[in-house]
Amino acid sequence: MMNGHNSESDHTKILEDEELQRLLVPDVCHLPLTPPSAVDSNFVCYFAPDFIKPGHDQYVYRHANGLCVIGLAPMHVALQDKGGVTAVDFNVGKFDRSGIKVTGKRKRNAQHFEHNTALCKVCTNDNSYIVRCCVKGSLLEVNDRLIKQPKLLNTSANREGYIAIIMPKPADWLKIKASLIGPEDYKNLRALS
């Protein structure tokens, strides 16, 4: 009697597991060869070519929730220098940007910066370049990994090498959006394949 009961519930469990397996395993032929990246799926990508200074190409990835990730676009002059980026310094302007501590849901203590406020200095063997906010808003975070790993800018400036995250007010975003261009236009502008 007991055994019979056990095998019945085991049987149900086996059926459930099979069903689960069936649900989990995808039909591979329906999967794309190369899926869109997390950035492409979750952000709208904009570019600011020659931002303030010629050759200072920056990107702005805007999330649906309004946050903006700022970074160096592929044709930024710093990335063309021989040897690439060697150091990143957040101690520009009045204080060290990597020292800010933003807390709470309301993001207190966040510094309010203008679109042309300096974020950091990117150094190569021969030169140094100022990276700016691009978007007016509250600075939520800088990528302090760049301090120890400046080479991230050479390998993945568009991902792990991002510079900072800024939260603009809706009105401020609309103002700057007008001067930004999309990925296709940027490619054409810089004659990239």
Partner: protein
């Protein structure tokens, strides 16, 4: 008139029936034996004191309360108020001393009041509550003649709501002025100093008055007890049994409540209210009046400036407004749910008047349960949550639906019907659905923070998968990772770095692909899985990409197990 007085003098302890026959005999609907018993109870009361109380506007029910007259007063529900007044009237006007001092005119007026031609004034203590006199919800004055009639009105309200019930709890809420005054008898000192003169002191003042006038009488401390049943308790004694009979159910602790809420315009005019209530709440209920308090009572009586003993009491011109309500306390129906759709959010999700996703688990489940219980509202609670595009599979996620004021508590059969109905929609499935007690809450909360969650993700990497990779991943046990608040929720959550544990991982190869695979993993509650796979721009570290040394993306995520002990079928 003169004749009536003469006969009264003559009768002197003879059959009281003679007294009644003096004027027209009113129909006594309660049995004669009941009236007899009442008379017995009343016999020992001091006539002068009772007359006094009547003259300052205290109702007969409150007089019975103050003097501790119980018995048939509460157990016969069809005693008319006029009967009560008649019995008291007899007591008073049988007393020779009183008769000597009563003018014939006054006597006849008093005597004929039992014919209900002259309605007694609104009681200055209970504001008409025990006299069953009130304004109904249409603001019409209503007078009920006996407890049975009041119970009938309440019964009607309950029947209209249509609850399926076996028992009920009875609650009464009365204007604080009455409560405060009753408590004030015990908590005198603090209270007196804060009461504005305009307020009627009700029972307390009456007690002061009685103590000052009759305190030295031999009967005083025996019959006029400092602790007596409260207005609330008296009302409950009057009403609960006839109500239970009328509804054909029992009065016992229940999730179904019948509530009488009395409110009075004057009672809310106090400004020093909260002070008084706070002080009185500090004392325990039922504290007997000790000798110290009595001393202070006397002290205050002598104090001219003390407004509390001002008599006559302000006449109360309006009764209370009564609101009769009934409701069932929330019931809880719990179980586990599965979500098969990637376009159904867990809870209602509306941005700018537009719904995100095509439906929500909350509405599918709650929206089916609520009407089957005929409840007013529902609330949906789940042990954790998943994104709209993440399926909830396997054993399912525990949830509770709280139904407010359910008219029916679903039976097992009804529960099965609900399960079937929900499961038919295919997008969501429920298991182990059943009515749970309030302990369901504890089960849920416990599940959220501590338990482990199991997932299956479809992962793509930027290079072909090697056997080595499977081994490396499998070898990682209880791995600590650090997650900065994901960018996708950073706008509404604090920017923090949270340490999480990945308990174990397993790669399952997919037959036709070298760069796609199924990743099974078991993690600590609160881990962001998507970010663990793609790295969230390096803000979650380590991540799958960093472990395998390439780029990794997540295409799909499913929750395969929420490990929680509760909410399973036995």
């Amino acid at each position: 008139m003169l004749n009536e007085v003469e006969s009264a003098e003559v009768s002197n302890g003879d059959e009281e029936a003679q007294m009644i026959s003096v004027s027209e005999e009113p129909p006594i609907t309660a049995g004669d034996e009941v009236i007899q018993a009442l008379r017995e109870g009343v016999r020992l009361l001091p006539p002068q004191a009772v007359k006094d109380l009547l003259s300052i506007g205290v109702c007969v029910q409150c007089i019975f309360r103050l003097f501790g007259v119980h018995g048939h007063n509460y157990s016969c529900f069809s005693i008319l108020q006029s009967n009560l007044y008649a019995v008291l009237g007899e007591l008073i006007y049988l007393d020779k001393q009183i008769l000597d001092n009563t003018s014939p005119k006054e006597y006849s007026i008093r005597h004929s009041s039992k014919d209900s031609e002259i309605e007694p004034p609104i009681c200055s203590i209970c504001l008409g509550i025990l006299q069953f006199f009130y304004y109904d919800d249409k603001e019409q004055p209503v007078r009920k003649n006996c407890p049975h009639d009041l119970a009938a009105s309440i019964s009607e309200v309950v029947k209209t709501e249509g609850h399926q019930i076996d028992n009920f709890s009875f609650e009464v809420s009365i204007p604080p002025i009455i409560v405060e005054n009753e408590q004030a008898v015990r908590y005198v000192k603090f209270y007196l100093k804060s009461v504005p003169p305009i307020i009627v002191e009700n029972e307390q003042a009456v007690r002061f008055y009685m103590e000052s006038k009759y305190g030295s009488e031999p009967w005083f401390h025996n019959t006029f007890r400092p602790e007596c049943i409260s207005v609330k308790d008296a009302l409950k004694l009057y009403v609960v049994t006839p109500l239970a009979m009328s509804l054909d159910i029992q009065s016992s602790p229940s999730s179904f409540h019948v509530r009488l809420t009395y409110s009075h315009a004057k009672a809310s005019s106090r400004t020093n209210f909260s002070e008084g209530i706070q002080d009185s709440k500090r004392r325990k209920a039922g504290e007997k009046m000790c000798s110290d308090t009595k001393k202070s009572l006397h002290g205050l009586l002598e104090d001219e400036s003390s407004e509390c003993c001002k008599l006559p009491l302000e006449k109360v011109s309006q009764p209370c407004s009564l609101s009769i309500t009934c409701y069932r306390k929330p019931i809880y129906i719990g179980g586990r749910y599965l979500k098969y759709s990637r376009n159904v959010s867990q809870t209602r999700w509306i941005i700018d008047d537009e719904r995100m996703g095509e439906a929500s688990v909350e509405e599918i489940i709650g929206g089916t349960i609520r009407p089957m219980c005929r409840g007013d509202n529902y609330k949906f609670h789940a042990a954790g949550r998943e994104d709209i595009d993440v399926r909830m599979l396997g054993s399912g996620r525990p949830f509770l639906v709280e139904v407010q004021n359910a008219r029916i508590v679903p039976s097992e059969v009804a529960i099965n019907d609900i399960e079937e109905k929900i499961n038919n929609c295919k997008k969501v499935r429920v298991k182990s659905l059943k009515v749970v007690g309030t302990h369901g809450w504890a089960l849920m909360r416990e599940g959220e923070m501590e338990k482990q969650k199991q997932y299956a993700a479809i992962v793509w990497i930027s290079r072909p998968l090697e056997d080595e990779d499977l081994q490396n991943i499998c070898a990682l046990k209880e791995m600590k990772i650090s997650q900065k608040t994901p960018i996708r929720v950073l706008h509404r959550r604090s920017p923090l770095e949270r340490e999480k544990i990945i308990h174990w991982m397993k790669i399952e190869r997919l037959a036709e692909s070298s760069q796609y695979f199924l990743l099974h993993l078991c993690t600590q509650a609160g881990t962001y899985i998507k970010e663990f796979v793609h790295g969230d721009l390096g803000r979650t570290y380590p991540n799958i990409g960093s472990i395998l040394g390439c780029m990794a993306e997540i295409l799909q995520l499913d929750v395969t197990d929420v490990k929680m002990d509760g909410f399973n079928t036995d």
